[in-house]
């Protein structure tokens, strides 16, 4: 066992953990903001809007994240029109490509999670809001959104854990997050077990923290659903 190699490289792991957290939080935050209006649109009476959003989520949920990342990072770079466009300074950065891909992917899942929760709201809650004479915007803000978010907390919590784990794919396009650090150590010291076990432990700590946060959130905001079940 070569644990001294890990001890010597703990600084790299700390940097990697920071990047992993940044990728996770940035992707989830952007996706969260995008998913709320998209979930409403997914249930809209406007068939064009509903199906356009449906088509987007099918494409991004129907293809592997790694394939999406390679298409956006390596695939787009193949076209000289893109390399010469004003977007290239952004798209040439692996960090931008990775976050864009993660956002597109997790937004697709989150939109469906939120939209599913909306569809399962008791009709009475929505009718009561209408009967109160709330405008569609007020209805969305005060009734639909809070009910949708509390009801999808458990599923959404799973999606955030999946996103955290999916950030390990960023290492395939040169970003040194936790998995990238482990792979670099593997390639320079020819050991596999120690670097990846260390990476796994870091992911586990992060995952457990996320799960705990969601349990607290659930107790705080979705407690009324529990009481109803009991």
């Amino acid at each position: 066992m070569s644990w001294d190699v890990i001890a010597d490289n703990l600084g790299l792991y700390a940097e990697g953990a920071k990047l992993t957290l940044f990728l996770t939080v940035a992707s989830l935050a952007i996706a969260f903001l995008l998913s709320m209006p998209l979930a409403l649109g997914r249930n809209s009476h406007n068939a064009v809007l509903r199906h356009a959003i449906g088509a987007y989520t099918v494409v991004f949920r129907g293809t592997p994240l790694l394939v999406q990342l390679f298409l956006i990072y390596y695939g787009l770079a193949q076209f000289s029109a893109i390399r010469e466009s004003i977007l290239w300074p952004c798209l040439s950065s692996p960090l931008v490509c990775v976050i864009a891909t993660f956002v597109l992917n997790t937004t697709a899942y989150t939109t469906e999670i939120f939209a599913g929760a909306l569809r399962h709201l008791p009709p009475g809650e929505v009718e009561a809001a209408r009967a109160y004479g709330m405008s569609p915007f007020t209805r969305a803000r005060r009734i639909l959104m809070p009910a949708m978010l509390t009801r999808s907390l458990a599923l959404y919590g799973n999606e955030t854990v999946m996103m955290l784990h999916a950030t390990s794919l960023a290492s395939t396009v040169t970003l040194l997050e936790v998995t990238g650090v482990a792979r670099n150590i593997t390639l320079n010291y020819y050991i596999m077990f120690e670097p990846y076990v260390t990476a796994a432990a870091i992911y586990l700590v992060m995952t457990l923290t996320l799960v705990l946060l969601f349990q607290l959130a659930q107790a705080r905001w979705a407690g009324y659903l529990q009481a109803r079940l009991g």
């Binding site: 390596y74 770079a77 040439s92 792979r183 390639l187």
Partner: protein
């Protein structure tokens, strides 16, 4: 079900090859992202200089060899863990690598070069290339050399041998360092390479210790018997001209 399974097993046993001189099959791994040395062709078959060389050695040494593709990052740990018996993947022999694995006799002495955009006029000297992006395959002699020699440059590292070229043509990297033979006989022959050329000096193991002593087949340090057989096979194909013929086929040398 049991009968079907028995028939299938029986069938498999019946077609297994005759026992070779070396009792077991020898599993040899290669990172097939490095044409013309090792790559996968359109039919999924491993092809290239190293593959032909290894097949010739196995035949000369009467070894039953199974050459398989493996990912670069798992190759050396796989060898030390005993998953593979040997590696042939243009592995340069260095001090650091000798500590974890054994090497056969050296079969070639590569030169290393930068490849970059034509007319970029980069000043390639130690400590230079400030702010330039150099793409290399992680954990290779090229990686070790540029990391030490160009601390002012940004070094981007990739798991495979082909990704750095994609980055070079995309303009994400200014330079890529690799085996000169790989650059000239693979990348520069491709369609996307007309704006690129070899740049800077030729490097060999004499210029920097990172470039090692030469290229050899890597083995587990416990496999003394297999090492001897592979060295015998290598000596045989060197004597009977097969090695020279493979060299000529790929690189046009005599």
């Amino acid at each position: 079900m049991t009968i079907v399974r028995a028939l299938i097993l029986g069938g498999l046993l019946a077609v297994s090859p005759l026992a070779p001189a070396f009792a077991e099959q020898v599993t040899i791994a290669t990172d097939a992202t490095f044409p013309p040395f090792e790559s996968v062709d359109a039919n999924g078959k491993l092809v290239g200089y190293d593959i032909e060389l290894m097949e010739a050695i196995c035949k000369a040494a009467e070894l039953d060899c199974n050459i398989i593709a493996a990912a670069w990052d798992g190759m050396i740990p796989g060898l030390t863990a005993g998953k593979y018996d040997a590696l042939i993947s243009q592995l340069t022999v260095t001090e650091a690598r000798r500590k974890v694995m054994a090497f056969s006799d050296i079969y070639s002495h590569p030169t290393f070069r930068f490849v970059g955009k034509k007319g970029a006029n980069l000043d390639i000297k130690p400590g230079g290339l400030a702010g330039k992006v150099i793409a290399v395959q992680t954990g290779t002699p090229m990686d070790a050399f540029v990391t030490k020699t160009f601390p002012e440059a940004t070094i981007k590292r990739y798991d495979g041998g082909s990704a750095p070229y994609l980055e070079l043509t995309a303009g994400r990297a200014d330079l890529h360092m690799s085996y000169e033979a790989q650059i000239t006989h693979s990348f520069l022959k491709g369609d996307g390479a007309k704006d690129f050329e070899l740049v800077g000096p030729q490097y060999t193991g004499k210029d920097a210790p990172e470039f090692g002593e030469g290229v050899a087949i890597a083995l587990n340090r416990r496999s003394a018997e297999l090492l001897e057989k592979i060295n015998d096979g290598l000596a045989k194909i060197r004597d009977n001209g097969e090695l020279a013929a493979i060299d000529a086929k790929y690189f046009g040398k005599n």
